[in-house]
């Protein structure tokens, strides 16, 4: 019993210690933003590896999620003779919920894990130490551009996810199941509010972007510099980011809607 309490205390202590380190790192990363804006090519390079390379998985998943929504939504709505509202259902669920959340989960798996592994390996192969010895701050040179790239990419990826999902719903609902095309688009246009729905979705995806990239760069930077340490850190990135996304999604939904 005493052992259990001791262990509980220790893991609680560890948790707050890590949270503290992560917060300090976050401060350092933000402190590097002004100097990084002057060197934007570094961010563009990272935008490519963090954002553009995640595009394919986001496009494909978005299309399928939209198609499933179209199919499921049609089957439910048709019982009530309300299949004309399919467009509203598909777009609201994507824009406010599935777009930001699923895109963020995919982003954590694709880009977050890659960021952690890359930074962790740079640490394990002493590249970060070497930079420090060359009087170059690795946080500013390596972490800040990556963080910033994640921050920019995430809302864009979520928007692309929603857009392609709406097209997927259209493909199934209109082209295959015969929902009226005019109704699909016009009801969507009439019911989806720019501030209440779209902007709230955008806010969610910005928050997820910050949290996922923060976790990813912190785990990489804090990794034990061995192959086992890096692999554990990568796993932690995916697990912690996913939990954070789902938990925050509930909190944000409760606050905003």
């Amino acid at each position: 019993m005493l052992d259990f309490i001791q262990q509980l205390g220790r893991s609680g202590f560890d948790f707050f210690q890590r949270l503290g380190r992560a917060s300090i790192l976050f401060g350092h990363i933000l402190a590097g933003v002004p100097s990084m804006i002057l060197r934007f090519p570094l961010v563009i390079q990272q935008l490519y590896s963090v954002g553009v390379l995640s595009l394919l998985i986001v496009l494909v998943s978005g299309l399928f999620v939209g198609m499933v929504l179209g199919l499921q939504g049609y089957n439910t709505l048709v019982d009530f003779g309300a299949e004309e509202s399919l467009g509203v259902m598909v777009s609201i669920s994507l824009v406010t919920e599935l777009g930001p959340v699923v895109a963020a989960l995919l982003f954590a798996g694709r880009a977050g894990s890659a960021l952690t592994a890359e930074i962790g390996l740079m640490k394990a192969t002493e590249q970060l130490s070497a930079m420090e010895m060359m009087a170059i701050d690795p946080i500013r040179r390596v972490l800040t551009p990556r963080f910033f790239a994640g921050f920019i990419s995430m809302p864009l990826l979520a928007a692309i996810f929603s857009a392609i999902g709406i097209l997927g719903g259209h493909l199934v609902g209109v082209a295959l199941l015969g929902v009226d095309e005019g109704a699909y688009w016009s009801q969507m246009q009439a019911s989806v509010d720019f501030y209440d729905d779209i902007m709230n979705g955008v806010i969610k995806s910005i928050v997820f972007g910050v949290v996922v990239t923060w976790i990813a760069v912190f785990e990489g930077y804090d990794a034990i510099p061995t192959s086992e340490g890096v692999s554990r850190a990568t796993t932690r990135t995916v697990v912690h980011s996913s939990l954070a996304i789902l938990g925050l999604d509930f909190i944000l939904t409760a606050i905003m809607f």
């Binding site: 740079m122 192969t125 002493e126 590249q127 130490s129 070497a130 420090e132 010895m133 060359m134 009087a135």
Partner: protein, 272 residues
Amino acid sequence: MTDLSAPLVEIRNLSFARGDRMIFDGIDMDIERGKVTSIMGPSGTGKTTLLRLIGGQIKPLAGTIKVDGIEVTQLSRSALFQLRKRMGMLFQNGALLTDMNVYDNIAFPIREHTQLSENMIRTLVTMKLQVVGLRGARNLMPSELSGGMARRVAMARAIALDPMMMMYDEPFTGQDPISMGVLVRLIRELNDALGLTSIVVSHDIEEASSISDTIYLLSGGKVVAHGNADTLRESGSEWAQQFMNGLPDGPVPFHYPAPDYAEDLLSAGANK
């Protein structure tokens, strides 16, 4: 003005601990200007840690480290970065940035710290590559280099900003005889041609002593002996004798501490 006759690095009463284990217990050391100084000792004596302490990457428990008259342990981060621009360090495996080719790796510190034009940078990088004999390899990626070549590229990168001193962390480990010979020669030649001060951390006695002006032998957190290779070989210290001649038994015993052998054998049946 700094006193040019004073040692470049002055370490006094330095102590450092990792957890409960004392790595250094009050060591003193002088690294003379313009000389090659080797720091030798068995694995795990904290030789690499010493380089990190000199570079200010970690802080000591007690004691002072002065580099060119500047107290490293007391410096602010920006002052430390200013000092590090005058230090070059070669890491064990080169620590080249894997997402850049050889040329960009060497240009990296120049681009970060100066406003030179690309033309000028190209000239500088070409000169550094010529020194280490790898001008033809400028477009290769680090993954395409052998271990010895990677270290030479890292050497070129370390001298890119013309430092006053170079620190080499185990430069000879895992090298074939040819690249070992190349590295040994390069360390000495760079030191003399560029007017550097070099610190070589190593346990390759033969190679390190052939190029060193002074050798410090470390063991158990203390400086056991120091001097040039000949004085160390002839020194009265049993420990120095064992290390310099690579004897399997001596002050560092061959056997891990264990109960008496005969007793151990006889009690084999009774308890395991």
